[in-house]
Assembly symmetry: C2
C-alpha cells in the first residue's frame, strides 16, 4: 500500500548539507500498525513527513497506493492527504486564533456531513480525549498535554485510513497516554493503517512491527509477537 524505495532526503541550509534520511526502503501494508523509534535527530519526523506527502524526497521513489507521487502537483498531493491521512504533529500545529472545537472541526470540513453531524463528532472525540471542558478555549489557554490531545483529536475525528502520529504521548502522563494508545488500537482494529513515532518502548509494544532508525538509516526491524 505504501512503498518507499531507496529514499534519501538532504536538507540544505546555507552551505551546510544535512542527510536526514539515506537509502530508506520500507513497505507498509494496509491495516498495519508500525512504531518507528530511534535517537533524537535520527530522521523519524522527516520519514513521517515524506510518508504523509508533506515533504518531497531528494532521491528514491515513494508509491502511495501503487502510484508514484514524485512530480505530483501540490494540489493533487493536498487532495490525497485530505482524503486519506490524519497527521498528529510533534509540535501540534494548532491554529491559535481558533477555539479547540474549531481546530478539530476544521478536519471535517472536506467531508460530506451536516453541521449538526460535524459538531456531534467533534464533541465525541473531545470527550474521548477528556478535554470537552476546554472546547471554547484557545490553544494558548491550555496545558501542554491538553494541546497535544487537541492535535490528536483533530487528526482522528475524520477516522482517516492512514494515521501518522509523531510522538503523540510525549506530553502526557501514563493514564492519558495509555488512553491515546487504546484509541489508536481500536482504530487499527477498524482498519486504519498507523505509523507512530515514539520514544516509549511501552507504547511501541502496541504496534505489530517496530522499525529502528539511526543516523538516517533503518538499522533493525522487529515483529511484535504480542500485538
Amino acid at each position: 500500500m505504501l512503498r518507499l524505495e531507496e529514499i534519501t532526503k538532504i536538507y540544505h541550509s546555507g552551505e551546510v548539507e544535512t542527510t536526514a534520511l539515506e537509502g530508506i526502503t520500507l513497505n507498509i501494508d494496509r491495516g498495519e500498525f508500525i512504531a518507528v523509534m530511534g535517537p533524537s535527530g535520527c530522521g523519524k519526523s522527516t520519514l513521517l513527513n515524506i510518508i504523509g506527502l508533506l515533504d518531497s524526497t531528494t532521491s528514491g521513489s515513494y508509491y502511495f497506493n501503487g502510484s508514484n507521487v514524485a512530480g505530483a502537483s501540490e494540489a493533487k498531493l493536498a487532495n490525497i492527504r485530505k482524503e486519506n491521512i490524519g497527521f498528529i504533529f510533534q509540535s501540534f500545529n494548532l491554529i491559535h486564533e481558533l477555539t479547540v472545537a474549531e481546530n478539530v472541526e476544521i478536519a471535517l470540513l472536506y467531508h460530506k456531513m451536516s453541521a449538526k453531524e460535524r459538531r456531534a463528532r467533534v464533541h465525541e472525540v473531545l470527550e474521548r480525549m477528556g478535554i470537552t471542558h476546554r472546547a471554547d478555549h484557545r490553544p494558548s489557554q491550555l496545558s501542554g498535554g491538553q494541546q497535544q490531545r487537541v492535535a490528536i483529536a483533530r487528526a482522528l475525528v475524520s477516522q482517516p485510513k492512514i494515521i501518522l502520529a509523531d510522538e503523540p504521548t510525549g506530553n502526557l502522563d501514563s493514564i492519558h497516554g495509555d488512553e491515546v494508545m487504546q484509541m489508536l488500537t481500536e482504530l487499527n482494529h477498524d482498519g486504519a493503517t498507523i505509523i507512530m513515532v515514539t520514544h516509549s518502548t511501552r507504547h511501541a509494544s502496541y504496534a505489530q512491527r517496530i522499525v529502528n532508525l539511526f543516523d538516517g538509516h533503518i538499522v533493525t526491524e522487529s515483529t511484535n509477537r504480542r500485538a
Copy 2:
C-alpha cells in the same frame, strides 16, 4: 528558601473561571531536587511559573529567599529571575530569528564575562547536549528533541542557583534523556536547587522528593530514599 503558603491561581477567560491551583503550601530548601508529577492539566506548569516569578498568584503568599514577592515591580522580578533562575519551558520558547548558539548565548548577556568566555561556555554546553553540529542553524531547522536540548542548554549555561525544568525530556529518547538527568544531578551536587516537572517515574527517581499534584492540589509528597 522558597516558601509557598496557601497559593491559589484562578484563570479568567471570558466568563469561564479555571482554578488551576488551590491552597498550595510548599517549602523548598536550598539545594533540594524536587520532582513534580500529576495528570495532564493538573497545574504543574502553573506552579512552576509562579515559583519562577513568571506569573502572579490570585491569593496566598510566596516568599523568595525570605521576601514576599507580592506587589514587587516587574523590573524587580525580572532582576531576581535573571540572577537566580534558569527555566526550561515545556514548549521551549526559542527565538526563531536567532541561531542555536545565539539563543543560548543570550542567557549569558547579563553576566560579567568577556565575549570569548561566553562563547566558550556556549560551546561547552552545546557539546554536553550533543548539538554543536547545529550551532549555526535556526530552531525551525532542528528536530523536536534537538530544540528541547537547545532550551535546556540555554537554561543551564549560566549555572543558575535555581533550575525550573518543565518536562525537560518529553521529546528525548532514553539515552539523551538520561544524559540530561545526569547533567541536572551534577548541577544539584554543585548546589543548584532543582524543581522538575516530569511524567516519567524513572526520571522522577533522580530527585530527593516527589510532590504529586491532582486537580490543582498537592495530594501526596514522598521522599526518595535512593537519591
